[in-house]
């Protein structure tokens, strides 16, 4: 049964030119193409739908077991299974476009040139923005390989910007020594916003078989377990760059989201929470609204970056 809730104006934000009714987006790969959740959520009350990581050609993803539960979290090694950009444009976007919600396409390439081609394919399609995935830990080529070196991250963002008039969000990997260095590199290359964090590279081992639990041996950790790391990185990045920051990593409740907003995130994404509570994008937004009302605050922007340091 769909959750009935309507966002008040106090939640409306604008991120890099993308107008959203709430500051609560959904993280790529955790919400499918949005339509999968319509039994539970009115998509018009979601800040933005960031669709599953899309590649030029269809991808089958990794073989073997793809998820493992961990303490307060989960590992995944899906491996960017997706139908490819053409199928997205012809079979999925026409339906999704009928919903009153900004659609952001997460794009992933094997080469810098492929990111450019993807951006060009999506030009004029009606999507609201692009999220450049330089942080997927589960593919052999591309993905995180671009996101752990400032020069290649910048090169990818420059290529996308050169092929697109849409707002470009760079999604950063936490698997780096200096997250601020990466953030400044993508900002310098023209990113209109920065989203973080993608998953933390992790592993689980079956002590009975002496084998890795996951088919791909390693996978990306998400869920409440990563929230303190995500919050720290969002805070570090938000104070170091001028572009808006979209914070994510283990957000399950409105209170979690408020922490990210105080740390400097202009918007947040819910990810793993969608797997547990399909109404999460709305319940988290409702939680923020309740928080604002209780504190007698007029607008969500009143708390963004308002962390008080001792």
């Amino acid at each position: 049964m769909q959750c009935r809730w309507e966002a008040k104006k106090s939640l409306a934000v604008n991120i890099a030119g993308i107008a959203m009714k709430t500051p609560v987006m959904v993280a790529s790969g955790t919400f499918g193409f949005g339509l999968e959740f319509e039994d539970f959520v009115d998509l018009s009350q979601v800040g933005a739908v960031v669709v599953k990581g899309t590649t030029l050609l269809p991808r089958a993803g990794n073989s073997g077991r793809r998820i493992a539960e961990t303490p307060a979290g989960m590992l995944n090694c899906i491996g960017l299974e997706n139908p490819g950009v053409e199928e997205f444009l012809t079979a999925i976007l026409p339906e999704l476009s009928r919903r009153d919600v900004p659609v952001i396409v997460n794009i992933s390439g094997n080469t810098v040139e492929e990111y450019g081609e993807l951006a060009a394919c999506l030009e004029g399609s009606g999507v609201a923005g692009l999220e450049v995935n330089i942080s997927c830990p589960n593919v052999k080529q591309g993905g995180i390989a671009f996101g752990t070196c400032p020069d290649s991250a910048a090169a990818v963002v420059r290529m996308v910007k050169a092929n697109s008039t849409l707002p470009v969000i760079a999604k950063l990997s936490p698997n780096v020594t200096d997250i601020v260095l990466m953030a400044k590199a993508v900002e310098g290359a023209g990113a209109d916003a920065i989203s973080l964090i993608n998953t933390l590279l992790g592993m689980a081992i079956d002590i009975h078989s002496w084998k890795p639990v996951l088919g791909n041996t390693v996978g990306g950790l998400s869920g409440p377990a990563v929230k303190p790391v995500a919050l720290r990185m969002v805070w570090q990045v938000a104070r170091a760059v001028a572009v808006p920051v979209i914070g994510m990593g283990g957000i399950m409740t409105g209170e979690d989201a408020v922490e990210f907003l105080l740390a400097g995130a202009a918007a947040v994404s819910v990810g793993t929470a969608n797997f547990i509570d399909p109404t999460a994008p709305v319940s988290v937004a409702a939680g923020i609204q309740t928080y604002l009302e209780q504190r007698r605050l007029n607008h969500v922007n009143d708390i963004v970056g308002q962390l008080i340091l001792a």
């Binding site: 499918g32 039994d39 303490p71």
Partner: protein, 256 residues
């Protein structure tokens, strides 16, 4: 709207069927009214981050009038361990009904189930009544005797194999299957159990040109077709999601 629910459900009762197996009855009226045989529910067992994810379960019976559904499960880990400790009145969150169920067809159906794979077939057997239903069940040993009692009420004929021969014929269901097919006329086969068993059942059914549906299982997070944890390769080269394209498939769609 396709009528899926994420509803707070209450434990009505829980009974032990063996050392490791329990039957849990839940009051979940929305799901109970809408669920068809072969569909599943995805339960959030504790209102905490440990364990974090939902657990998928086949449903063995649903009573729309009473608003209840039954799950038979084996205690295997943290989630099912917590479930086993639940008593009447305890709460879980029930997401369902999920996936596509069995297509009830044929006048002489044969059900082939291995281990906990018998669970969805139990509800199907009830739905196929009054057609004469035959079940071929396989288990590890005599401790799975409870399945015989459960199926006795809904099936005309029951055939049993166990790995150790402590009950029924020693061996696997697929060892006995060719014999059953030679001696009887069946016009539909439904199967659920370990993947190698399903592959063998599908192969034998195809040889005899008997339509066959299989119910697959896999690790999954969302149950809604979003996380892509549970996808498998279709025989046409396209991927299938066990949660939303299945868990019930025509055998030829997913098994070569």
């Amino acid at each position: 709207m396709s009528g899926k629910f994420a509803e707070p459900a209450r434990v009505v009762s829980q009974v032990s069927l063996s050392d490791e197996v329990r039957r849990l009855t839940l009051a979940a009226p929305g799901t109970a009214a809408a669920l068809r045989p072969g569909q599943f529910v995805h339960l959030k067992i504790a209102d905490s981050y440990e364990p974090l994810l939902r657990r998928p379960f086949s449903v063995t019976a649903a009573d729309p009038a009473a608003g209840t559904l039954e799950i038979i499960y084996r205690i295997v880990g943290k989630g099912t361990g917590l479930m086993a400790a639940m008593t009447a009145g305890d709460g879980v969150n029930c997401l369902g009904p999920l996936g596509n169920g069995f297509t009830p067809q044929g006048q002489r159906p044969l059900l082939v189930g291995g281990g906990m794979g018998l669970a969805p077939l139990l509800m199907l057997a009830g739905a196929l009544c009054p057609r004469p239903v035959t079940v071929l069940m396989g288990g590890r040993d005599h401790r799975e005797l409870f399945w015989t009692d459960l199926f006795a009420g809904v099936c005309h004929n029951t055939h049993i194999t166990t790995d150790d021969g402590s009950m029924g014929r020693q061996g696997l269901t697929v060892d006995l299957l060719p014999e059953l097919l030679a001696q009887n006329h069946f016009d539909m086969i439904y199967s659920c159990g370990p993947q190698p068993m399903l592959a063998a059942v599908a192969r034998i059914a195809a040889l005899r040109q008997i339509p066959c549906q299989v119910s697959l299982e896999d690790y999954m997070a969302c149950g809604l077709g979003a996380c892509l944890s549970c996808t498998c390769a279709g025989t046409d080269g396209k991927r299938r999601k066990v949660c939303t394209d299945g868990p019930v498939f025509w055998a030829g769609e997913v098994l070569a």
